[in-house]
Symmetry: C2
Subunit: 262 residues, 2 copies
């Protein structure tokens, strides 16, 4: 059953959904980002016409990704910038003109509240969710550049073990945009972590999934990478902590490799 | 004589220098930017150790560029985003780690207040001047993308007729970064405007002058160009208006050419 949601007009919309930032004063080079940390749908978007089960599913967020990112933030002494709002309201890893920014369909789920997003509503969500998040992330990056910290951008995602009925074998995906330096160092060092690791899997930049890398790292030529962990490996906080303990040394070594190669 | 300036620490610094925005609701595709519109040095930076003459010179701003940009904004029905602060405090067309962002030397002038900028001061100016300006510009661009307006970024600059004692023959410079589509259309159409026009002169992206294009247009693959007019052609508001009347039809036609080629 499709329910009607309430959508504020741009004129009425005054709430800005700023990024949640943890470990802001961390001295490490790495800036961690988790664009799909939350499945929260703020009241002004109702429930987007979805049942509770769908609002808990991977279409609404990346389950386990925030716990993993937080564990990495502690273990790597890195700032973490994460999303306060579900990607069904606005997928922060998509540009404002990308259909997937407010998807009308996500895997097997139709999203009724996104079935007919007007240009004005698209602009309102962009102003309320996309711009504040990316501007807050930009502040963190620009400050580190100004301080001479040579920041490195790493985005943390999770993916579902079964997609359109097909099981995915990959457990740890390392995805790059135009600059593949960091991704290749990570894959080279991943032999010992005991995870089925692949470069540019379960998808790649060609699928339009590297917007944050392109927006935030590209203009400054910062080393950058998008990491994807299969979400059945992140079912509990303990599991996420354990995966972080395997990944953090590899990531730290790969970041150090950047300086060796420079 | 070098005078001491007062520099606020990051903790004390609370003033943010937001962009000045004119013609915000203009329906045109073009977003005009003037990063060097102002020679204003806010009180917290004193006079940067410069005499009044130097603070009026081209090292502090692009004389005539704002008048030209305003005339273009009216004639092309385009939003205009311009700087409230001198480029000697922060050159908005430079990344925070670029020496030219807070230049210690500019052409024949030493800038005493920039002779020993600490990392903390660099971060403070970045937070106070660079980030607010570019985030304000980002809002304008993101909104237009969300609305499906297919924005085009054009930055407006002026250059000095004599540089280190050598006269420059070029009158109108058309400079591109990685994407040369719009620049080439403009040069192709510039035959009738009666200005000595050159591509990538008096300097080019290799000189590090295309930061705004790279930051704001690059991630979205928006057509973009940096325009430079010799400032002796912009000595009075009437002159600037007259130059705008010559350039506007060429720019509008070149933007239309983008759709032809698409």
């Amino acid at each position: 059953m499709t329910r009607i949601m309430t959508v504020a007009s741009p004129a009425q919309e005054t709430v800005l959904f700023h990024a949640d930032i943890e470990n802001r004063s961390a001295p490490g080079r790495v800036v961690l980002v988790c664009e799909h940390a939350s499945n929260h749908i703020p009241p002004q978007w109702g429930d987007l016409g979805l049942e509770a089960q769908a609002r808990q599913a991977h279409i609404a967020w990346d389950p386990g990704a925030l716990a993993l990112a937080r564990a990495l933030s502690r273990q790597m002494d890195a700032v973490l910038v994460h999303a306060p709002v579900s990607r069904l309201v606005y997928d922060l890893n998509r540009a404002p003109d990308h259909p997937g920014a407010m998807p009308a369909q996500s895997e097997i789920y139709a999203v009724p509240g996104n079935a007919a997003v007007t240009a004005a509503e698209r602009a309102a969500r962009t102003a309320a969710v996309y711009v504040p998040f990316h501007d807050d992330l930009h502040i963190e990056i620009a400050r580190r550049i100004a301080l001479g910290l040579a920041p490195v951008l790493i985005t943390i995602h999770s993916f579902t073990p079964i997609w359109h009925g097909v099981a995915r074998a990959v457990e740890f995906g390392v995805i790059h945009d135009a600059d593949d330096r960091l991704a290749r160092h990570i894959v080279e060092r991943s032999g010992s972590i005991g995870l089925h690791t692949e470069l540019n899997a379960p998808y790649s930049a060609a699928d339009g999934v590297t917007h944050t890398l392109r927006l935030q790292a590209g203009p400054y030529r910062l080393p950058n990478v998008m990491l994807e962990v299969r979400n059945d490996l992140l079912s509990t906080p303990l599991q996420s902590e354990a995966i972080a303990e395997r990944l953090a040394p590899v990531l730290m070594a790969a970041v150090a490799d950047l300086s060796e190669g420079a």
